[in-house]
Subunit: 256 residues, 2 copies
């Protein structure tokens, strides 16, 4: 259960990637920003809900975010953090106790693990899972809607599927806008400005079989690249794949 | 309005194709069968709901079908009928007054005009409409579920779309299972056993532009081909494109 999982993280018993744990519960991408940048970032998420679906926003200075789970302490309940300074990765840490500031605002953003769980339950094969790789992710030429200092381009994840599975995947993920929702594109990568599906900017390439279509979803890496692009003096995120486990059930995120 | 439209048909003032009239109302494919075959056909429709979504089934011998509209008289309210004998088209007529039998059962099946109206309202271009043609339809290698004497293969209609429009089209048509619902396939025609998209078995070929995907829906021609394949001594259908206008609003067919 998520509470026990977070306790294991807090106690240092668990420091690894969180994929596959507590499958019925939503995991969250995290961004933690000084309040000077938080309003811009909140508007950025509101304006770009497909890559940045907000599950919760903390009160300024608060490391407890009750909307995410019982007794959550953001400083200690994530297996690994990345600390960015001036837009560059400066440090990896497993605790924010020493760097926490009274003006930090926590943003929790939905994660594709939730919809992948739903797809898997419906029997839709996920190639990157079959091949034991990270999902391939690509920078696109699609500009995000700018909000203050945050802009940049949409990052997408790609899952190859047969046509009938792509249709089911659209139906299933449409029910879950809180975890990126429906795909944003099917088919021709050139339409997104992707030159070569075999060369993802993040994650690993996967096999695309004869007769399959690439299906693209807005990706939670988008806000991280927007934060890096804004070159903030200080910003914090989870280490990719090392997510916050929440008490929010995936099922509760269905809008119909 | 549908009532007035049916009156015009009944009075002989309207005998043409019905596409584009009373756009907010569902039009129906018709099959009219002697009761000896009606139970098999009802099971066939139940077992194959994507090509054969039943809007209404008449009581045996009844030409009034109140579920379809006020004062509907099936014998006279359809612009043109095809009469099949021994599985072959034997006669076209604009009235069933002389051929009606006391054991006839009316089947009304949802029509793609309804979902096309919904797609057009959402700004999704329909190539066959743009090009002033009938939608292209293809026999597939996909066997229908057999029920008694009725079997055969699925017939599909095809509409080429850009990826993002295909995603919206899946979302929109998923809400309307009563008019064929979501597509059954996107992409490779070979997966359906279609050899050449430029050579549809019914309707007209349309242009497929660079970067577009063919999107395939189950088609109401499927039950007609099943009826012809069953070689019934007598069966009646509407003339293709010459549908029954119903009082059922398209909006009322949305399941969510």
């Amino acid at each position: 259960m998520p509470f026990e999982f977070r306790q294991a993280v807090r106690n240092g018993q668990f420091r690894g990637p969180t994929a596959g744990y507590c499958g019925d519960y939503a995991q969250a991408n995290l961004a933690i920003l000084p309040s000077a940048y938080a309003n811009d970032f909140l508007r950025f998420c509101q304006a770009n809900p497909k890559p940045c679906p907000l599950l919760a926003v903390g009160e300024p200075g608060q490391w407890h975010v009750p909307a995410l789970g019982r007794e959550v302490d953001i400083r200690s309940d994530v297996p690994a953090f990345y600390i960015y300074r001036d837009g560059r990765l400066a440090q990896e840490t497993d605790s924010l106790a020493d760097v926490w500031q009274n003006d930090f605002v926590v943003f929790a953003i939905g994660c594709s693990f939730s919809f992948e769980q739903m797809l898997a339950k419906e029997g839709i094969p996920l190639r990157h899972v079959e091949e034991g790789r990270n999902v391939p992710m690509y920078r696109t030429k699609i500009a995000n809607r700018r909000a203050g200092i945050f802009g940049g381009e949409l990052v997408v994840s790609m899952r190859p599927m047969r046509g009938a599975d792509a249709i089911r995947a659209v139906q299933i993920t449409s029910r879950f806008p809180g975890v990126h929702g429906a795909p944003i594109h099917i088919g021709d990568p050139a339409e997104l400005g992707i030159e070569d599906l075999a060369k993802p900017e993040f994650g690993d390439a996967v096999t695309i079989k004869e007769g399959e279509l690439p299906v693209y979803w807005a990706c939670g890496v988008t806000p991280q690249t927007a934060i890096m692009g804004a070159k903030l003096p200080l910003a914090i995120a989870h280490k990719p794949g090392h997510m916050l486990m929440t008490d929010i059930t995936n099922a509760s995120l269905a809008v119909f």
